[in-house]
């Protein structure tokens, strides 16, 4: 499955070029906010810049769309534009959106409306936008896509499941292209939940190489989309060759040049990452750039695809490395053939996305 185009939108801006720029620039401090319920406590978060969501040319037909749908639509649009491929009506394209929490801001607004005004007086717009599949619908409408469309919602490995489904659609020739991506937003509800349920990094730094049993998170938000195809002319960023869930395979048989550890404090126990580093390979982790997200795998995958395309090994944005693993400390050109993106969930379940040049 070849990666023909990538679109990203996160706290560091919109578009794969801005993401590459963020990888070059390195870590930046998050915003510190106060929650209504916790006014005395400062709370770090990586929110989307509102200006990133202002694009009349793309969003002109999406007046009613909420923040979640807007960020997903922009990333999906950019992935198609980035591919440079002429997508005419002759080819079938599918859409798969992965999300952990969906448009939870709208969903909670809708529920609040029922409580405040009763069932008969809820906004029809809030109702129609309160379901997870709204973003996929907007993307289909925006890009005039008439192939299969689905939203995968899961806490453990939503992006991985979406990739597996995309591969299946391409293999069975249901689609010529699949626009597959992830989106999650950080609204006030999410910030409150994170403040109550997660250990928050008070200094604003996620530490991917601490391999802590009780890691610290900095909530983030954003969306990343990939245009996938089996066609050889769609190999702009190399190939996403395999997704292995709960893998116990011997990594030595398939040794990557770089292991990207998706440790971000969001999914609990991170001790498993210590064993995930393949001897002789570099280790990296880019979650401090965009924040903690259960769908952060999409961004790590985008970083891997960029490294394969540009043949650049990007320095880890936060390099505190008490376990002394072989992390990327400087940004430099390098010969890179394969990268594994490794994610653990709650210290046990493991998923590996394998990319190669």
């Amino acid at each position: 499955m070849n990666i023909a185009g990538i679109g990203t939108i996160c706290t560091r801006g919109r578009g794969i070029e801005s993401f590459a720029h963020a990888l070059q620039q390195g870590w930046k401090a998050p915003q510190f906010i106060s929650l209504q319920s916790l006014p005395d406590k400062s709370f770090p978060v990586y929110p989307l810049n509102q200006e990133s969501l202002m694009d009349k040319a793309v969003l002109g037909k999406m007046r009613r769309a909420d923040r979640f749908s807007r960020m997903a639509a922009l990333a999906a649009w950019d992935a198609v534009q980035d591919s440079g491929m002429a997508l005419d009506g002759e080819h079938t394209m599918g859409i798969i959106v992965a999300s952990a929490f969906g448009p939870h801001t709208t969903t909670f607004r809708f529920l609040d409306d029922i409580l405040d005004y009763g069932e008969a007086n809820v906004s029809p717009t809030a109702f129609s936008h309160s379901v997870h599949n709204t973003a996929a619908s907007y993307i289909a409408s925006l890009l005039d896509i008439r192939g299969p469309t689905i939203t995968v919602s899961q806490f453990a490995f939503p992006f991985h499941q979406a990739i597996l489904l995309a591969q299946a659609w391409l293999d069975e020739k249901r689609c010529d292209y699949v626009l597959v991506g992830s989106a999650d937003e950080s609204g006030r509800v999410m910030e409150y939940i994170c403040s109550q349920k997660l250990r928050i990094a008070d200094d604003g730094q996620i530490q991917p190489f601490h391999f802590s049993a009780a890691p610290k998170a900095v909530p983030g938000e954003g969306s990343v989309f990939f245009l996938m195809t089996s066609r050889e002319d769609g190999r702009k960023y190399g190939e996403l060759s395999e997704v292995a869930l709960s893998s116990h395979r011997n990594e030595e048989e398939d040794k990557p040049d770089i292991c990207i550890l998706e440790a971000d404090g969001m999914a609990g126990d991170e001790t498993g990452y210590r064993d995930a580093v393949v001897p002789g390979a570099f280790a990296a982790g880019y979650s401090p750039l965009f924040g903690s997200m259960l769908t952060g795998s999409g961004f790590q995958c985008a970083a891997a695809a960029l490294m394969l395309k540009e043949q650049i090994r990007y320095a880890c944005p936060v390099q505190d490395n008490p376990g002394r693993v072989n992390i990327c400390t400087v940004t430099e050109t390098a010969e890179i053939h394969s990268i594994h993106c490794i994610r653990y969930h709650c210290g046990q379940k493991k998923a590996v996305i394998k990319l190669r040049r």
Partner: protein
């Protein structure tokens, strides 16, 4: 008395404009940009559509306690900000009269 009516109508128009801007996600439009005789639906004016009409029905119920059941009546009432404001004013007034009598 006429002065009072016009003052109340002006207040209702301003409130209606604010509600439209806040609840219909009207891009790049401020309440003060909307004229009193601004046509609400169709290609002229604000360009609202059928889903917006349902939203306005909900807004009338929530904010003014007014139910809108007759669709033919709704076409006249929803013509402009002014017709909407007058409908709100008149129904409020009749409600007040009923309460007084």
């Amino acid at each position: 008395m006429e002065g009072d009516q016009e003052k109340t109508l002006a207040e209702i128009r301003a409130r209606v404009k604010g509600l439209l801007v806040d609840n219909l996600a009207l891009q790049d439009i401020q309440a003060e940009d909307i004229r009193d005789d601004e046509i609400l639906f169709g290609e002229e004016g604000l360009g609202l559509d059928s889903l917006d009409a349902v939203e306005i029905v909900v807004l009338l119920q929530r904010n003014f306690g007014l139910e809108m059941k007759d669709i033919d009546q709704g076409k006249k009432i929803f013509y402009s900000v002014d017709t909407l404001a007058r409908y709100i004013y008149e129904n409020r007034k009749s409600n007040t009269s009923k309460e007084q009598s």
